[in-house]
Symmetry: C2
Subunit: 334 residues, 2 copies
C-alpha cells in the first residue's frame, strides 16, 4: 500500500521552538510550539521536543510516514551538525544537535541556521523554485542570508558561508554585537532601523511622533506605522535603510550574480515602503553588466510558517540526498 511521506521541520528560537509535519509539496500538515527555555541545556530540550513530536504525530493522517528531520537554529553548522555559541541559548561552545536527534530517530537529520533554512525553503517551496542562483535575506532582529549557487545552498569551506549581515558598511560605524563596527545588520534590520531613527531625530528638526517614543519602546512596527501616516523621520529612516541595503545587495550581485534576491522576515513585511526604494538603489549601485537583470522580490513563503517550511525543505533535501528508504517513523530507545 502506498504511504504518504512527510518530514519534520523544527525552528529553534531563543524564546519559542516551532515544529510541524510538512509534505513533499510544502504543505504544512500540522504544527505546534513549545517554549525553548533558553537557560536549559540542549540535552534537556531534545527529549521535550521528541515528546512533542510524538504527540503531534497522532494528528497525521493514516498511512503517513516520516522520512527525515530538518532543524533551523541560530549558529548552526550544517557540515558538523552542531550549534556553536548560540547568542540567545545557554548551550555552550558546541553541541551536536544532529547526534542528539539521531539517538532518538533512525532518520536523516540535518541542521542549518535559520536564514539558510529560509533559503532552502524559498528554493524548494517558494519564489526561487527552478532558480540556479539566488540570495535570500531575512530581516529580523538581525540580518541573515542564504546564498543559492548552482541550485544548491552554499556552505563554503567551513559551513558558515552567507553571513551578509556582518559585511562592513562603515568601518568606523555603529557597534555590532559581534564586536565589529558598522556591520550591515546594525543598519538594515528591525533594530538597525530603530538606530537610524534616533540618528535622524538628532540630525533633523522635523516634527515627528517618534520624538515621543523612548529608545527602549521603539520598534520597527512603530516606525512602519508612522511612515504609513506620512511621518518625515520614519519615511527618511526607510529611505536610509533602503539605500544601504541597495548598495550592499549590489555588492552581493557582484559576487554570485544571482537571478533574484528575496527579502523575508519582519522588516520585509513593510513591503513597498522598503522594497520599492531598495530596488531603485540596487539598480543605481549595480555594476553595468548586471543592470536590469536582477529581480528584487518578497519571499513567497508565509511569514508565520516560513521557518518550519525552511527546516522541512532542508529535511527533504537530505532525504533526496541519502535516498534512505524510511517507510516509517522508527523511534530508537524509549
Amino acid at each position: 500500500m502506498q504511504t504518504n511521506q512527510c518530514v519534520i521541520g523544527i525552528d529553534i528560537g531563543g524564546t519559542t521552538t516551532s515544529f510541524g509535519f510538512v509534505d513533499r509539496s510544502g504543505a504544512l500538515i500540522c504544527e505546534t510550539t513549545l517554549p525553548t527555555l533558553a537557560n536549559q541545556s540542549a540535552e534537556a530540550l531534545v527529549p521535550r521536543l521528541c515528546d512533542g513530536i510524538e504527540k503531534l504525530r497522532t494528528a497525521l493522517p493514516p498511512q503517513t510516514s516520516v522520512s527525515g528531520i530538518g532543524i533551523g537554529a541560530p549558529n548552526a553548522n550544517y557540515q558538523r551538525g552542531t550549534v556553536e555559541n548560540p547568542p540567545n541559548l545557554n548551550w555552550g561552545a558546541s553541541v551536536n544537535l544532529v547526534e542528539l536527534f539521531r539517538q532518538r530517530y533512525d532518520l536523516p537529520v540535518a541542521i542549518t541556521n535559520d536564514a539558510n533554512a529560509a533559503a532552502i525553503g524559498e528554493l524548494l517551496f517558494g519564489g526561487a523554485r527552478g532558480m540556479k542562483h539566488a540570495i535570500i535575506i531575512t530581516l529580523g532582529t538581525g540580518l541573515g542570508s542564504g546564498i543559492i549557487v548552482n541550485g544548491e545552498l552554499l556552505y563554503g569551506a567551513d559551513g558558515f558561508a552567507g553571513e551578509l549581515g556582518h559585511t562592513t558598511v562603515d568601518p568606523t560605524g555603529r557597534y555590532c554585537a559581534c564586536g565589529k563596527h558598522g556591520c550591515l545588520e546594525t543598519y538594515v534590520s528591525a533594530t538597525g532601523i530603530c538606530r537610524t531613527v534616533f540618528e535622524l531625530l538628532a540630525q533633523r528638526l522635523d516634527a515627528s511622533s517618534l520624538r515621543d517614543v523612548s529608545c527602549s519602546d521603539l520598534t520597527s512596527k512603530i516606525i512602519y506605522e508612522a511612515a504609513c501616516g506620512g511621518d518625515a523621520i520614519a519615511l527618511a529612516a526607510f529611505d536610509t535603510t533602503a539605500r544601504i541595503l541597495g548598495m550592499k545587495l549590489a555588492d552581493a550581485v557582484a559576487y554570485t550574480s544571482p537571478e533574484a534576491i528575496f527579502l523575508s522576515g519582519g522588516l520585509a513585511a513593510a513591503g513597498d515602503l522598503l522594497i520599492t526604494p531598495t530596488r531603485c538603489y540596487l539598480e543605481e549601485f549595480l555594476f553595468n553588466p548586471y543592470k536590469g537583470k536582477v529581480k528584487l522580490l518578497r519571499s513567497e513563503l508565509p511569514e508565520s510558517s516560513g521557518a518550519i517550511l525552511g527546516a522541512a525543505a532542508l529535511a527533504w533535501h537530505e532525504v533526496d540526498k541519502t535516498t534512505t528508504p524510511s517507510p516509517s517513523l522508527s523511534r530508537r530507545g524509549a
Copy 2:
C-alpha cells in the same frame, strides 16, 4: 601509439596577445606573442592568431596532439562565448569569439575573462589545487577576481559572477571608469595605489621622493621602490591599500567562506609589503566564526605565464567536460 595531449592557451590583452601550448601537468611547452592591434576587429585578429598557432605548432614534440582551446579576454562571457564591450578593444557590443575559433578548429573552445582564467589556473595548476572554495584576486590596472565554489569556477546566472573590483568601498568616493563611485579597484590596483599616493601627498607633510613625480609618470613600481627605501608616503600608501583590501576580503569571506584567498598580478608582486598588512587587516575585519581559518596567499602561478596557463586550464576543463576524443589538431577550411 600513445600521443601526448596538450591544449592551446590564449590571453588577449589590449596591446599584446600571448598564446602557447600547455600539457596536462601545466607545463608550458612553447609560447609566443603577437600585437593585438586593438583598433582592428576580432574577425581580423582570429586569422592572424590561427596562423601564429599553426606556426608555433611546428615547435611541438612529435606525437603531440591538441585537445582544446582556452581563451582569456576582457569582458568575456563563458556562457555565451562572447566578448562584450571590451574596454580597450574596438570590437563593438558583442562578438562571438568561440564561434570564430570553432570555424577554424573542430575542438572544444571556451572563453572567460582574464581573472576567471587566472582562478581556474590556480585551481588546476597552482596553490588552490585540491581546494573546494577559494577566491583569486588579480591586481593589475584594475582588480579582477574569480570565485571557486564547490571545486568549480562560479559564473552565476548571467556568466559575470565575481566582479569584486566593482563592489563599493565608499559610495561618495573616487570616480571609477565604470561610471560608479568608490569601487574597490579605484583604491586597490596598480592605478588605485597611485591615486592613494596623491591623496596622501595632499594630506600629509612628510618629505617624499614621490613629491617629484608627476601624476602621469607615477607607477606602482615607483611606489614600491620608494617604500622599499623607507619613504613614509609610499609605506602609508601600501598600508591604506592593505586596509581597504583586508576589509573587502573580509566581506568576501562572509559570502563564500573560502579556504584561501590568492593574490596575483603586478601589485601582488610587492609581496610582503602588501600581503603581510593585508593579512592583519583581513583578520581584524573577519566575522568571528571565520577568524584564524582563512589563508591569504600569493598565487603560485608564474607572473609571466600565468595568463596563458589560466586560459589553458580553462581548455583542459572543457576537454574533461566534453570528453571529445580529439586525437589530432583537425583544422577546418584552409
